[in-house]
Point group: C2
Chain length 412, copies 2
């Protein structure tokens, strides 16, 4: 089977979607349920409709676009990703899996194939933790890994609930109806940029993801004692930011100490109160993000950091409170889908390497309700979550080619 | 001479002024030229007028309220402080010197004294660095330690200039006319809470300030490389926040290493970009505040930190840029005023101890144009710049008593 990918149209659509942002180009910022997010949704839904797909939203704003197969009753093959973007992000993360998935479907349509099973494009309501402080809210709900009642009460920084926000955005119905049954998808496969350097360094165009690393995240609040930067003498201080600095360095050290490339740990947020040049900081809120493909090793890092917290707290007379946001299990890909990806690569003369995904992906949760795998393509310098994130049209085209062949093979 | 201090009226006025804040009680926040600041100015000016003082504003909003002496031409004795307050501050810092100064004048008026020289109350336009990133903008201008042209172009975080802001607040005329001549004041004396624990610990009601510590401040910008918290492996990182953590701990260590109680150093601001839970920080902006009564020792700390910056920069592959905001000279008090303060204490049966001021004070700059000294009173736990900042009515009354006697003695 020979499939023609329309790279020109796909790139045009990628750029059009990138222009829908709450900040000026080249920055892409699309926070779930924001005005930019709503415009982006309208844009992709119009593309889906133009391709003859049956489009529906669920109660929280996950978008489904189905190409109905010969056997409309058989479990569909799912593909897709997300279009939300953290503040100051780029144009490829998530989007390549959505618009690339659409182009894969269109390429199959143009080739005259009519698959036995339906192929369904999925745009997850949100993958980024920006709004609710928790990654993958959309797929967590779909996969039933969170109770609908809990999900309704997730709050953003302004105290607005997911339930209020999704209603204000026009998504009605019951959140519980968004939970998908176990046999809804026969398989799920997601195309994504790597967000790391492995493929680029190895000069391999396609990665077949065998595991998705298990992320754990938390907020760490440090309470010290504030005071005047001139009047409060050094021995009297319980400086919350100095205590936070000790913790930040311990996070870095703990990740490096595992001696595994697969362990990463990050403090991405450091909010200081009162945050004045002449005030000793009284309170600091840090975020913590630890990932590994080995959940035991990851939990070892968390355990180490809990001990460090206690030591800092004792030594510096500060209170440290840890609020775990999540500590998800890693996911393993399905062997049959991996083999289908590898066969698709072979058919297209593309080298493929099995590898690990270290970023959060909706497929982590889709794995709970369907056999899953992911297809990775390289991105320049491993850079992601930045405006200069880049994957070339050729790299994207190869990924779409492999996705289309894989979908055709799975849908039969 | 026996002076009666009306503690009840003074406390009523202190509480009324505390209620004028841009945040709900007990928080006092009054940023210069804000709506809360303008209401606070109107309140104190009305009190000054009620006491029969001649009130005027200068071009930047320093307020002068003069009790004209028998010899109206002789240089006045100045007293006063500030009423602006950093975000989330308390009700005594600065304000005790303004309303306490007013009550000292009223007590002298009630006693039937008519001093030979005029006594002038001064409310500095702003003492806090909140708006322009630089402490004591009002007294810097008065004392001619900054060129009027430079001062006009000081900018706040939103890029608004002092010149535009003071005009919008209704202060007209030329900034250069705000500079006071050298013989304008014969002496200047400021009453203030200690903002430290010394007097409380020693159980001494009055401190006579012999030196004001020399503050230096800077912004430190650290540029690393951002990326995805999952995809960017530990060896590839140039995490700006981890580099910042090293610097924050070095600041603390450098201040402690001088082995002098008089050295203090603080990082009060830590702004992280992009500041997302799943992004490796690419840029961090820190503030640095270093103070000492010995400028050479203070500059030694700054030199040490410059070397630390360079080492961090090399080791971690980040760029570190230091923007010095100021490095002011310390000030020594005038011996004759100190003796007048001590005599006033003796007359009132109050213990007095000579001591060092470690916080920024407008008197640091007034010392450039007049013989200067400060009167300190204890504050609870040494706490300042917080809503729970506290000085008792008795402590305040004693400070006002000593100030009134000192003013009477200086004004002759």
């Amino acid at each position: 089977m020979k499939l023609e990918i329309n790279t020109e149209q796909l790139m045009r659509e990628l750029h059009a979607l990138a222009a829908i942002s709450s900040e000026p180009a080249p920055v892409v910022t699309r926070v779930v349920y924001s005005e930019a997010d709503m415009r982006a949704r309208a844009y992709v839904k119009q593309l889906f409709a133009a391709a003859g797909l049956q489009v529906r939203d669920d109660a929280v704003g996950n978008i489904f676009a189905r190409w109905v197969g010969q056997d409309a009753e058989a479990p569909a093959v799912g593909t897709g990703s997300h279009i939300d973007a953290i503040p100051n992000a780029g144009m490829y993360d998530g989007v390549v899996g959505v618009l690339g998935g659409l182009e894969a479907v269109r390429a199959l349509q143009r080739s005259g194939v009519r698959p036995r099973r339906s192929i369904e494009l999925l745009v997850f309501a949100a993958e980024e933790p920006t709004r609710f402080g928790l990654g993958c809210p959309g797929s967590r709900i779909l996969a039933g890994t969170v109770s609908p009642e809990t999900a309704r009460q997730w709050k953003d920084a302004e105290g607005q609930s997911l339930d209020a926000l999704r209603r204000a955005a026009g998504f009605t119905g019951e959140v519980k109806d968004a939970v998908l049954p176990q046999n809804y998808y026969g398989q799920f496969v997601e195309l994504h940029i790597e967000q790391g350097k492995f493929l680029e360094q190895e000069k391999i165009p396609i990665g077949a993801v065998t595991h998705i690393a298990a992320p754990a995240s938390a907020f760490i609040t440090i309470e010290g004692a504030g005071g005047h930067a001139g009047g409060m003498l050094m021995p009297d201080r319980k400086d919350a930011l100095a205590a936070a600095a000790k913790f930040i360095l311990a996070v870095e050290a703990a990740a490096k100490a595992t001696d595994s490339m697969d362990t990463v740990a990050t403090v991405g947020i450091c909010d200081v109160f009162p945050g004045a040049i002449n005030s000793v900081p009284s309170r600091v809120k840090l975020s913590l993000d630890v990932r590994d493909i080995d959940p035991a090793r990851r939990d070892g890092v968390l355990h180490e950091l809990a001990q460090v917290s206690e030591a800092i707290s004792k030594k510096r007379g500060v209170k440290i409170h840890t609020e775990m946001l999540n500590a998800d299990a890693p996911a393993a890909s399905d062997g049959a889908i991996l083999r289908a990806i590898e066969a698709a690569c072979q058919e297209n003369g593309l080298q493929c390497r099995r590898m690990v995904a270290r970023a959060y992906h909706d497929s982590l949760f889709m794995a709970r309700i369907a056999p899953m795998a992911m297809i990775f393509i390289p991105c320049r310098d491993g850079v992601s979550h930045r405006p200069d994130e880049f994957a070339s049209p050729e790299e994207i085209t190869r990924g779409v080619q492999v996705l289309a062949h894989t979908l055709a093979s799975l849908a039969g």
